[in-house]
Subunit: 226 residues, 2 copies
């Protein structure tokens, strides 16, 4: 689970609880305590899913929602609304503002987690899939194994994460910065050229004689899986 989740919610304790648990499941999480700031940060963060509180100090959840749907880049961002019990549930249910699901507080983390995965399974299947497959390449997240052409390949931890990252979005070109942000543990600073070396190592491991190169270099932009 390498997806990014953004939380807009004014109760810090809820954020903390949810964030901690989501991170334990491998998600990358960022959050904001109010709507306006949240909107700004969210667009920088580019999450795969948004957890949005219904009642916010400045904007209402609906306002945030509308704003997001107006933005072409986030038209399809999956949103799960968090509401207090009884809090105008009907309105939300009926609401056609493009909420993908909603959940009433207090909720168990398991319930939330299940819904997040259900929503992601629809919108972004690779994020929750156990097996990532691309052509003759297969990565098993549960058993932590990688195969090319049925044959198992040994990868170091970083190369594994790197490949996992590419596999969630094959063909897409990622800049070194993007790779760094997602593949490396938070707050770690490494030289951007370091990525080149890991790309090299990954290439060496997954390439088979007589088979085409799987990682494409896009000069001045980054790398991608092809």
């Amino acid at each position: 689970m390498k997806g990014k989740i953004f939380i807009i919610e004014d109760e810090a304790s809820i954020i903390q609880l949810v964030q901690l648990n989501l991170e334990k499941e491998g998600f990358i999480v960022a959050s904001s305590l109010n709507g306006n700031e949240g909107l700004k940060e969210l667009k920088k963060f580019e999450p795969n899913l948004l957890l949005l509180d219904w009642m916010l100090p400045d904007l209402s959840g609906i306002d945030v929602c509308k704003n997001i749907r107006k933005d072409n880049n986030f038209k399809n961002l999956p949103i799960i609304m968090l509401t207090a019990k009884g809090e105008e549930e009907d309105k939300i249910k009926g609401l056609e503002s493009g909420v993908d699901d909603y959940i009433t507080k207090p909720f168990s983390f398991n319930e939330l987690s299940a819904r997040i995965k259900a929503v992601l399974r629809r919108s972004d299947p690779n994020i929750v899939a156990n097996d990532l497959i691309f052509e003759d390449l297969k990565l098993d997240r549960i058993e932590k194994r990688v195969f090319r052409d049925e044959k198992e390949i040994q990868l170091g931890p970083t190369e594994f994460r790197l490949l996992e990252f590419f596999l969630t979005n094959p063909k897409r070109v990622y800049s070194r910065d993007q790779i760094l942000e997602t593949v490396w543990p938070n707050n770690i600073n490494v030289e951007s050229r370091t990525i080149d070396v890991h790309i090299r190592r990954l290439r060496q491991s997954i390439n088979i004689k007589d088979k085409k190169e799987l990682i494409r270099t896009v000069r001045s932009s980054g790398y991608s899986l092809v």
Copy 2:
């Protein structure tokens, strides 16, 4: 696992979650959203175990429980009570109304599943698989014995639980944290390195000369049985 489990619980989302997962494990599941109807259907369904919510719209969990115990056909039906956190835990604990176990929401499905099996193992041993088998390794939960290649192996209690844990999900890689959470008694704090030592002990016991290593180390991720 071919037992039948009945659920009485008013939150549909919980039923859904639990039912789905139990069915995945091979149980046959039926459910009801309230007490009176539940009692009727339960008696038709004849489950091997009942999951019973403490707070129901009509009857309380206790009422349901008493009713069941009065019925000769269900005097011994194992019951696991579901309670919300803090919700009169003490009452239930002290309660001699014949509840076999109870679990507080929010719970993880794994926790629930483990308790269900523990209760069934006592009441209805044939329903639960008592022998865990993987290749030439066999673990008998009832007699607490382990065999490799027909030959019995002596394990300390911790190594036994550790192996039992790996056997419930062979091949899957578990992090040290996950192992700790599941294999060690709750709320006990042990150094995460301690696991390495127990892994070593387990390896030493179950490995046979000329046979392949059974425990795989996955650097930066954990261990698994292979």
